[in-house]
Symmetry: C2
Subunit: 202 residues, 2 copies
């Protein structure tokens, strides 16, 4: 990713994060696009380069849900084994850790950026977040299928994405509740716990 | 469970199922408690024995989320092994299968009873369903801790409940979309897939 593209991604994420924080604090009707732009330090014109509306900013850009480079690395790095690669869930966790971005790890008030809290305040946004989440899931399922050489629709790929998605949400929630110092550590611990639970019968 | 108690559980579940179906079709404001009672074949007085309001009927009774007898059986039936029992997820799946009730398996229009579809129609009910789901999860976590001899708050118990919860929701959604003939088969297949994914590294 070039420097210009990195800056654009940072601005787009910052607009989305701030829009979510304002929605949690005041509701969607409680702030204007102008206020949002002033807080982030961009012009109205810049805002509309990124998002067609205030609601779209709150939901965020689809590309910010997954780090494309990490995802392609994930597909390319399959170990040479027969069957499902044993480190599949660990490698999916690595994609998630690369995707959430350093802001999430570092922000001490990350709690104010939680989609769950946004939906609790503005329930009508649920469908938008659900659709956005389903798109991210579909891209991940496709990547797992490609990496593992599975036919499209193989239930193993969907199950892998369901499981890692649950562990990702749980690690994010624990980070947001300040129960863990790091999203990455929480997620890697959960994957290790999951492996303990699902070892084959002895 | 005595015959009288069984009949009461059936009536309570039938009221909740019908209230959800009517909410999906017409919205909460689109039907009265009297209409609901007429469809189920009970009196207003009976309705208020079970639920204090129409919304409460839509959310359903907490006791109907988990089969108590299956849950106590689950706690008692721990195999004699050191560490986490290898069949923990399978046994949690058995609790879920006992809990969903035969109506869910048999009803050809089970699709009209989906909490997700209710929330899509009446987003303000999300918090109620979330709270109800969290209560069921807390009871399951407690049961896993007791069965496995884990300290309260051990992350392994929470991870086990998160994983089985995801697989349960997925199996239920597939059943509701008629992608599988049986909730039980779909869930047991998913648990088997999860085990394939999370086997220890070879």
């Amino acid at each position: 990713m070039g420097l210009r593209e990195q800056r654009m991604t940072r601005t787009r994420r910052e607009l989305a994060r701030t829009a979510r924080r304002l929605t949690i604090e005041r509701g969607l009707a409680g702030f204007t696009i102008d206020e949002l732009c002033e807080i982030v330090g961009v012009s109205r014109r810049t805002f509309f380069n990124y998002f067609p509306s205030k609601e779209d900013a709150v939901v965020g850009h689809a590309a910010d849900g997954l780090d494309d480079e990490a995802l392609e690395f994930f597909v390319a790095m399959r170990p040479r084994v027969d069957g499902i690669s044993p480190n599949l869930l660990d490698d999916l966790a690595a994609v998630a850790i690369a995707s959430v971005g350093p802001e999430f790890e570092e922000s001490p008030d990350g709690g104010l950026d939680d989609p769950g809290a946004v939906v609790a305040r503005e329930p009508q946004l649920l469908a938008r977040f659900t659709t956005a989440g389903a798109e991210v899931e579909a891209r991940l399922v496709n990547a797992v299928e490609r990496r593992e050489g599975l036919l499209p629709g193989d239930p193993v790929a969907r199950t892998a994405v369901l499981l890692i998605g649950t562990l990702i949400r749980d690690a994010a929630e624990r980070r947001l509740r300040h129960e863990t110092a790091s999203f990455a550590d929480a997620l890697l611990d959960s994957v290790a716990d999951a492996k303990r639970l699902l070892q084959p019968e002895r």
